[in-house]
Amino acid sequence: MKEEQSANKGGVRVDTREKIARRAEKEIESGNYVNLGIGIPTLVANFITENKQVVLQSENGLLGIGPYPTEGELDADLINAGKETVTAIPGSVYFDSSESFAMIRGGHVDVAILGGMEVSQNGDLANWMIPGKMVKGMGGAMDLVHGARKTIVIMDHVNKHGQSKILKECQLPLTGKGVVQRIITDRAVMDVGSHGLELIEVAEGYSVEDILNCTEADMTVSEKVKLQAF
């Protein structure tokens, strides 16, 4: 098994983040409406190929996020859900928070890509609080996991102590129960199906056995598992 640094130092970690983001981009089809969470998910936008027409939703009230502004374009009244200044593409729409979550909750967003602290083998997600630590709030995550047609969690496969973040059962308080359809890590891609967790892709540098060894959750291996997939 290849050793990777989880801490954010030097190029290695950045490469890992980029690797996950690049793989996650493949989940997005042309014509999709997509919500990207804060953190690594936001990076996915950088890798969307030009032949795809994708509309990015920001839950604070924007459909059609554009690139970050130049100094001259900077507008305090135009931010994304991470409170970063952004721009808007032609054909973008502004709306209020109630409409924004009507859109999300009502199943109109095709794909939501979120970060995760823990995911369980039945698709539970924990990504908003650690007991004993300062809790800042869940923001829109609890609504997003229920609304999007496909909820994808992207995260490191193991935590900084080398422990699996994909568990039989989440230990942290949940964000949503049975809400995750696909997990993409630096090492593998797994689907949560009606028969439990299934390994469908293994990243370069890892074997199926490596993945099973570093995953606490029960997991079957797809007959069509793709090796050296990304």
Binding site: S58, E59, N60, G61, L62, P67, Y68, P69, T70, E71, L74, D75, A76, D77, L78, I79, N80, G82, K83, E84, T85, V86, A88, Y94, F95, D96, S97, S98, S100, F101, I104, R105, D124, M129, M134, V135, K136, G137, M138, G139, G140, A141, M142, D143, L144, H146, G147, P173, L174, T175, G176, K177, G178
Partner: protein, 229 residues
């Protein structure tokens, strides 16, 4: 024709100790900054504040936090400042965290006369504690009750003299629902225009939701200045 204030202190003078306030904005974007400053000056206390966020250390609702004017805050993401963290850990402030979409819908319901609704957000999480869970079409939902306020403080881009409002870009956010959910809604606006100058087809908040207007200059501080080269 609506009441038009020229003095922010006078505009907030009806707000008394112990009242429930809603304040528009997402982060520092679209907040009624001059109304908040006047409220900080007023030193009214024991406020319950409903707002998606709670400002930063020296701006927005953070100014009220610093003065210990807030007894309880209902929001979805509140920890962007150290004083908040200190008060929370010291048990000096009560915090009710609410998923953002649920918060938006609870406020919308409050303005719309809907006392309660079912929503999927929070099922199976700590948010569900003590709430009714019911299944509809094979999926579980939580019962959530609506929110209203004694006063709503919002920011809009333009108002006409009948109180009809339009908002600019993502500064709209929670403002329209908060406008409708307040018994008394005061709109801080960038510009007041003559009645008839706004297009009837494109009003974001009909004047029926607005009790008073005040024009002000906003600093419009940016929380995360992100630029490309």
């Amino acid at each position: 024709m609506k009441k038009i204030y020229s003095d922010f202190n006078e505009a907030v003078s009806g707000i008394k100790d112990g009242m429930t306030l809603m304040v528009g904005g997402f982060g520092l974007c679209g907040i009624p900054e001059n109304l908040i400053k006047a409220l900080a000056d007023s030193r009214v206390t024991d406020l319950t504040v409903i707002s998606n966020n709670c400002g930063v250390d020296d701006w927005g609702l953070g100014l009220l936090l610093k003065n210990k004017q807030i007894k309880k805050i209902i929001g979805s993401y509140v920890g962007e400042n150290k004083e908040f963290e200190r008060q929370m850990l010291a048990g000096e402030i009560e915090v009710e965290l609410t998923p953002q979409g649920t918060l938006a819908e609870k406020i919308r319901a409050g303005g719309a006369g809907i006392p309660a609704f079912f929503t999927p957000a929070g099922v199976g999480t700590p948010i569900a504690d003590g709430k009714e869970v019911r299944e509809f079409n094979g999926k579980e939902y939580l019962l959530e009750e609506s929110l209203t306020a004694d006063f709503s403080l919002i920011r809009a881009w333009k108002a006409d003299k009948m109180g009809n409002l339009i908002y600019n870009k993502t500064a709209r956010n929670f403002n329209p629902m908060i406008a409708a959910a307040g018994k008394i809604t005061i709109a801080e606006v960038e510009e007041i225009v003559e009645t008839g100058d706004l297009d009837s087809d494109f009003i974001h908040s009909p004047g029926i939701y607005v009790q008073a207007l005040i024009q002000g200059n906003q600093e419009k501080r940016i929380e995360r200045r992100t630029v490309r080269q």
